[in-house]
Amino acid sequence: MSNFSEPKTDGIEDDMRREFLKAAGLVAGGALAGWPFSKIALAAQHAHEQQQTQAPLAHITATQALTLGAMADQIYPQDDTPGARSLGAVYFMDFAAGSFMAGAWPMIEAGMVDLNERAGRTFGKPFHDLDFATQTRMLEEIELTPFFGSVHFLTLMGCFSLPKYGGNIDQAGWAQIGFESRHAWQPPFGYYDALYDEEAFS
């Protein structure tokens, strides 16, 4: 793990995330896969229903869900609040696997196979059965790969996007950061404007 200012390396998924971060006065709107939104909405509805009814996942096997859930909890762990798995990140990934990330999904599956093979070879157990610190060390070895980058990206989307996509169950991810989706707010909005003397420019 490192901080923001480290040198960059190549990688499609890294580039994708980097573009979201460019903050160049632009909205980040880019189609990841050219999916029409009507199909996306349908896939979202499925994921949401599965999450609501605890139904089996449509595009992710039970074993894959264990791997992805463990990775999600490494990326955005439980502290005094729930981690990404409890927030529903795996349900979001199921939605993504069946829609806008379908093209990249074979790469993610191959990454999971490789991760579990290495875990089995070295420790005699699948990745999700390893203790937390060992999982962390294994992921540090692959944190520059498109596989890890994609799961990282999907984990954050699963924690903080609208619950209708399967994650952010009961808006618990939003509650953790202090966000609330409302259609109207009134000033003052924050600490500093509450103290402001409006006379200056009125």
């Binding site: 980040a28 189609a31 962390t136 950061i177």
Partner: protein, 558 residues
Amino acid sequence: MSAFDTTRRYPTREPVDFVIVGSGAAGGVLARELSQAGFDVVVLEQGPYRMASDFGHDEVKNMMLGDLTSHPGWADPQSFRYDPTETAVVGNGGLPPALYARTVGGSSVHFSGNYWRMRPLDFKERSLLGPMSGTGFADWPLTYEELEPYYTKAEYEIGVSGTPGPFDAPRSRPFPMPPMPVKSSGVLLEKGALAMGWHPQPAPMAILSQPYRGRPPCSHCGFCIGFGCEMNAKSSTLVTMIPEALATGRCEIRPLSTVYRIETGSRGRVEEVLYVDADGQQQAQKARAVVLAANGAETPRLLLMSDGPDHPDGLSNGSGLVGKYLMGNGHSFIHGYFEHELNDWKSIQVTRIVHDFYATDPQRGFYGGGGMDGRPLVNSMPVLHAMTESGANPPRWGAQFKRDVRHGFNRHMGILSSTTSVPVERNNITLDPSAKDAIGRPLVRMTYRDHDDDLAMMQFLQDRGNEILDAAGAQRIWREPVEPQTAHAHLLGTCRMGTDPARSVVDPYHRSHEVENLFICDGSSMVSSGRGQPTLTIQALAFRAAEHIGQAARQGEI
């Protein structure tokens, strides 16, 4: 998507007075002005007819999947390269290099509402500063004073909130509405800038601070940048110009209509506009005159695609300048976290700006100027906030990352700097020589590398932003690296106006130098880039163009 019941339908096989390609910042104004002047107008818009009820707070839909910025019916990617020696590629993480909204109202629907006038110097900087070798640095064929009445008209017809700042150009009328309520990012920008001895001012915004012409004021929902307004408080052409155009009974908005060719007749005049309709069928709309307002990327693409035996390099391209001198404005961004909660994710993006570095200062050692504003940028949205905090390569993750994400959402602000772009010929829009979109059009190919002076100005203002955040008491400050940009929401200069047909594409009133019944009016008309918020200038130009085009039509001069 909801259908809007336009009462008027024009047959395609009979010529209408004007076909306008594009319904955005410029196209919406032209449609309203020309239909109110008594002409029959058909507007062809490639996007769907979305209304306020179609807009919401869905970050995945809007930001990750590009619902507003993608074509709804088929893939229409764009290719990019920094330099002419490279082979352009489609990539960029899915972010279109020419970033614009495909919807009725165009990018005026999803923009942030920053609505700056240019200043007198912007129109004559070549004369003020002298030549810049190897560039297309030039004066405009009009002055600020000539455009001022149209700036005023745009502010009143569109609906703008603000109050004059100490460096603003003279104005003939006050702002129609007082400024928007200040946010904590505005307060802190003001505090830091005042401590540095600078002159912060309220931001002029095309967002309503009061009820105006039947529309409600902003409800501060926070989903503004990149989103359509669910309250109709953002002054897009969707909710200002276009309903008024439809009310004349002489304007038809034809959504989901993607133009692929302008056809000329035997006399070299434009005769019909070919497009693919909502059902994927090829159509042709006859017209007495055509106005292109498709933006600074799609307008040159269409001209370059409309070649013919007597214009082999594209329509209206005898100068060879169609698509060239693309300017995107430079941008740099710096983040800060403060001790107390700003909640900068509420309300609009920008409430205070700093224009102390607007003019070029030779002592800086390079050409350029710009403005700065306090805002959340994409940190106003939960997913993008977390991604911004995660950094890039390798991404941050784990317990400390989570603490920062949770701590920072309410305590974040940034300073966005916007700068001039030097017009250089190698920065351009051309047709991709190999890749085509799903209906067979060559892709938009963008070639762009920010001029060294642009990068220097971006860096200069980021440094000033650091000083502001520091003086305002930020607890943690970090920068987005300044580097050549690969995506542009401001698409300027690609069909520049001028008096010399060898050095410009349109005359000072937006008429093609070569095709007498073809007009081009959008960001492509601009000769210089301004300081980073071009929408008001584009709309003022559109009001002015419509007046002259209407007069010419009435006098039988088209």
